[in-house]
Amino acid sequence: MLQLTNLRKSFGSLRAVDDVSLEIRPGEIFGLLGPNGAGKTTTVSLAVGLLKPDSGTARVGGGDPLNPEIRSKVGVATQALALYEDLTGEENLRFFSKIQGLSGTTLNQRVGWALEFSQLSDRRKDRVKTYSGGMQRRLNMAVALVHEPPLLLLDEPTVGVDPQSRKAIFESILALRREGRAILYTTHYMEEAQRLCDRVGIMDRGKLLALDSVDNLIRDHGGRDVLITECSDGEKRTETDDPVAELEKLRQKGPLHRFRVERPDLETVFLNLTGKTLRD
């Protein structure tokens, strides 16, 4: 559904995107991880035709997103809440439906669906500025979906939302995957990427450092498990491929007060690949 091939984009001397290639298939959630300034937003902008690449190609459903008609295949929920606060939730949905070319019965049906999706049917006539952060975030996502795009770009969709809204957003995203939509998901939250994404790409300084499933990334770049034991001599950390066997060995040497195993996760993968944490 989305195919980026050897994309490059520079701003002056800064190379924001450096030879990035990736593909997102229908029914797949692709996580793009990277710290601020890694090039995620520029990659997304190139993917939706907001920017023209210096070299390489971006294709959405086989077409060039610089063509406005191709962009109707994309729904974007930006990190900033791109809504008109003085319009009601329904008016926002109607407006964005119209500019996506919907009209008549289809428009009414899709607006009704989007209100249900965002759980805002009972607040449809209220102005957006009266909504809570979570409600605005859900509406922001509904606006991206109102025209049924096959490709969805979600940029930090859970920033600043309460746990209840976050759970609702997760469920919605998983439902969209089941419908066969391709989703590009950028986030700072490792646990979200780990929970939702089928594959993850890790970016830093414009480069795509790794791209694979979460399990494979951890296996390839996460390093070994760490067994942490506490005995009369104090705490001891031991890297091992087999924590159970290592624990047995240590137990035979003397009594252990406590132990725990730290398994590598995406954070560890990220640290190993970039030398810094995701929030740096």
């Binding site: 907001l50 406005p68 109707s72 319009l87 008016e91 407006f95 964005f96 119209k98």
Partner: protein
Amino acid sequence: MKQILALAGKDLRLLLRDKAGAFFVFFFPLLFAIFFGLIFSGAGDEQSSIPIALVDEDSSAGSAKFIEKLNKAAELEVLPTTRSQAISLVRSGKRAAYVVLTKGFGPASDRMFWGDAAKIELGLDPSRKAEAGMLEGVLTRYFMEGFQANFTDRGKMRGHLQESIAAMNTAPDSERAYWSPLANSLKMMDDFFAQPTVSGDSGQSGEESSGWQPLKVEVSDVSVKRVGPKNPFDVTFPQSVIWGLIGCAAAFGISLVVERSKGTLVRLRMAPLSRRQVLTGKAVACFVSNLGVSLLMIALAIAAFNVRPYSLPWLALAIVCCSLCFTGIMMLLSVMGRTEASASGIGWAVLLVMSMIGGGMIPIFFMPPWMRLVGSFSPVKWAIITLEGAVWRGFSPVTMLAHCALLLGIGTVFFAIGATIFTRRGD
């Protein structure tokens, strides 16, 4: 096209929901037109009367008659009092002046040709010199009105003449020779007024028998072709239209910056819309609101403020051209600032200066020549003149079309510059 209309509809809806924006677009221009219209017309500003304290030390029929005139005078607010009280009132600033009709005022005001003059004492508050000058004129005017009556009434005239002759005849011997020529002349005048008039009047007393007047003003209603505004609102409502257009230009120019800062512009750009469509949507909204506010102002002017445009078709054309011109100005304003605050500050500063030098605040014809010249660089001046051309200046078709073409040119150039900057920034 549907998408452009959707963009325009959204912007118009947002404008109507923005109370501050609606104030500057609709209510401020209206207040401006009404407020300055009333000031220029003097309506609502009752001719302020001069408060005086009046002392009648004569207490004669003549002084009473004069006081009656002063009491009826619109220019004066008369408070009868005593001399000491009158002086105190002026000193305390409660009255602008005091007027004392001195002893002998009544007989002297009836006497003609001889004897002491009627005497009025005037005590003035030095801080109210302008009113004092006016007061002297008002007192003189009402006194002369009474004096004039002596000349226009034959009966009175003869009475005064006979009194004067008798007084001269009974004067001491040393003075009688001096007055004798005048007494003889007055006797001849008395004989003259004793005759029936040519029209057969018997010389009876009364206004109908008036044989002579010092001045007779006949007023004729002559319709002349006016070269100026017929009504102060002819001037203030074109100005108010411009203020409405300025409000729209500011509101929509800033709204584009707000869209940029809030991220909705990115969302629009990610939609299947070209930059041109996004800009056209904004321009259509601005143009429609420009038209709306202009028509609203003109409709109010015609319905409630007796403005009678010289030519309605030309006025419609002028409104369309002004609206297009300010749509171009809006586009240029929208790229003048990166943030809402900077766009608002720069936008209003530019618009206010344009308005100030272009006749949006002070009517162009009140301006000194050098300011009119400077104002020629402001689109506001050309917009106002074009509107006035259709309201009261009575522009010929050629002049009107030339002004409209100029407004369209200004609008096109400004729009092109703004759109080019907008596109180059990659917005």
